[in-house]
């Protein structure tokens, strides 16, 4: 029996963006990363329809993490208090295509470090690696508004991805990202209507929709992944159907969310297998599941999970 041709074709596509600026483009990056461009759902249509292959961004924290489980600390134990060396290790040893500096240490409850610290970390990482950077605030609006504009300035012209802007806190970061030539991450709490609204708000300030990447919030395997999956899928369908306000590439935070799961880190769990394996497996499963829905940039943490996911991507996104 012949296999019927069921592939839909679409009129729209996901925006294609290039992160990072080399010397010729006014930056100091040695490489750039293109994402987006899909003209069909994952596995749908021809190879060309798939657009750019998804990429892995590895997390580097601005300050030594205090609450990471042993399995996650182990690969980084010598570099955890040196963001530059940490980033270098992720790029050179683990093949990170982007580095995401997560400024957790500026949070009032997690160190309350100031802007000069954040700027120093940014400069250190910019110097240590040549890949494009993602600059991600701590999530406390007041502190992010105080620190992230300075971080943005420290990386001016590097075409970083900076975030996040939210429905009730978007003005200062949008303005500074526009001035400094960065791309923006718009964040919504697993709510596609709010996701669309934030993009409109940023656009109203004159920020080009073509320079936005959306973050719909991520749920790990067993912790709401189905909500994240269906929202990503709906955004992809909207983009393919021509909704220009939802045509952005997508970023998800698999590393942080997966390692919050108790299955990833509980030591005393006979019958669950060794704890050193569970975390990477949880992270891998979460990433690979979300890849099917249509995501473009995946933030990850454990080198083994990164290796497996990169291998999966290279098998599926050929050409």
């Amino acid at each position: 029996m012949p296999v019927p041709e069921v592939t839909d074709s679409f009129t729209g596509s996901v925006n294609r963006i290039t992160l990072g600026a080399t010397k010729e483009n006014g930056g100091t990056r040695s490489s750039t990363v293109a994402v987006g461009g899909a003209q069909n759902v994952v596995y749908g249509g021809s190879t060309e329809d798939a657009g750019e292959k998804p990429v892995v961004a590895m997390d580097v924290l601005d300050s030594k993490p205090e609450d990471w489980p042993d399995a996650l600390v182990k690969p980084y134990k010598d570099v955890l208090d040196s963001p530059g060396d940490w980033a270098k290790m992720c790029v050179e040893e683990f093949g990170a295509e982007l580095i995401c500096i997560r400024f957790e240490g500026i949070h009032p409850d997690k160190g309350d470090k100031d802007a000069s610290h954040a700027v120093k970390v940014t400069e250190e990482v910019l110097k240590a690696v040549g890949v494009p950077l993602i600059l991600w605030g701590c999530g406390n609006d007041e502190k992010d508004n105080e620190v992230m504009p300075k971080v943005s300035g420290a990386a001016k012209g590097e075409k970083c991805l900076i975030g996040t802007i939210k429905e009730d806190n978007y003005k200062s970061l949008t303005a500074i990202a526009l001035a400094d030539g960065h791309f923006l991450i718009s964040e919504a709490p697993l709510d596609i209507n709010i996701a669309k609204q934030i993009n409109i708000l940023a656009s109203d300030m004159g920020f080009p929709l073509e320079r936005i990447v959306t973050f719909q919030a991520t749920g790990a395997l067993g912790y709401g992944i189905e909500y994240a999956y269906s929202i990503q899928e709906r955004q992809r369908i909207a983009a393919l159907s021509g909704d220009k306000i939802m045509a952005m590439p997508v970023i998800c935070d698999v590393g942080y969310e997966s390692w919050r799961a108790k299955e990833a880190k509980l030591e005393d769990a006979p019958g669950w297998g060794q704890v050193k394996d569970r975390g990477p497996m949880w992270e891998t499963a979460t990433a690979i599941c979300l890849l099917q829905a249509g995501v473009d940039i995946i933030r990850m943490r454990h080198p083994r999970a990164v290796a497996t996911v990169k291998n999966f991507i290279s098998q599926i996104w050929k050409g």
Binding site: N193, K196, Q197, I200, A238, G242, D243, K244, I245, M246
Partner: protein, 274 residues
């Protein structure tokens, strides 16, 4: 919703005068403003005043294309006028041939001619076909559907993609004596026309005709448009400057889950409905 903007039509006084005086500014202004208001196509109709209809449609097309790349909808009952417009049009941008009945007493093959013209114009040329034949405009539901079915099968037979076909079930003024049954008939016909092909053929109407000569024109137009969209109408020749009407289109699309809701959905509709 694919909106075909109706204002570049010689029936309007300012357009009629612009044609007579070869005043490009009026035409180019209307092209720009209608595009900004959310038009996917600009209807181009020379009206009845111009003596040289072929020359006039070419002048209109060239004038619009000097400053605007929006797709055009060449509007004439005369194939020779459409053919003249096609010579000037940049069909790469998309073009609609508006319109042909199934057949005419004077020309049994008119639909074939339109299909031939569209094919010659290239893959981005589409046709508006009226549910009307040599016996005139049908008043009942069944004849409308039967004519639409014949149009669709003719297209399929000719290898013409039904996605390039817009069926127009012909809207008549509601205030004409005994015409009040027609809007209901049209909606019922639409219910069936949408199933004539898979994917469904496009459907379009000349919306403003419905309220011709009536008071409450905008209200009548927009209520009918919402009703028709729920029956599968996915295009209309309409007044895109009517903000209330555009808000109804945006809201209906949102309620039908064709657009993702956001608090500012009305504001972005015109710029994103392409």
């Amino acid at each position: 919703m694919l909106l075909i903007a109706e204002r570049i039509n010689g029936m309007f006084t300012n357009v009629k005068r612009a044609i007579a005086e070869k005043d490009k500014k009026v035409i180019q202004y209307l092209a720009k403003k209608q595009t900004e208001a959310g038009a996917a196509y600009l209807d181009v109709n020379v009206g009845t005043a111009a003596a040289d209809q072929e020359g006039t449609i070419q002048w209109l097309v060239e004038t619009i294309q000097e400053t605007c790349s929006t797709s055009l909808c060449l509007d004439s009952q005369k194939p020779n006028v459409i053919a003249a417009g096609l010579k000037a049009v940049n069909a790469e941008n998309g073009v609609l041939l508006n319109s042909t009945p199934l057949n005419k007493k004077s020309d049994e093959e008119i639909l074939d001619k339109f299909i031939e013209m569209a094919n010659q114009a290239g893959p981005k040329a589409s046709i508006i076909a009226l549910t009307m034949d040599k016996n005139g405009v049908p008043q009942d539901i069944d004849t409308r559907v039967a004519i639409a079915a014949e149009i669709v099968s003719k297209a399929i037979e000719k290898g013409f993609d039904t996605q390039r076909l817009f069926i127009d079930p012909i809207v008549l003024p509601v205030n004409v004596p005994n015409a009040q049954v027609q809007p209901g008939n049209i909606l019922a016909a639409m219910e069936q026309i949408r199933y004539l092909a898979d994917p469904a053929p496009h459907m379009t109407i000349g919306l403003s005709n419905l309220s011709q000569g009536a008071t409450e024109r905008s209200l009548i137009n927009r209520v009918f448009l919402a009703m028709a969209m729920s029956r599968g109408l996915d295009s209309a020749i309409a007044d895109v400057f009517d903000t209330d009407l555009m808000n109804v289109v945006a809201t209906t699309e949102m309620l039908m889950n064709k657009q993702i809701y956001s608090d500012s959905y009305l504001k972005v509709f015109a710029s994103t409905n392409k």
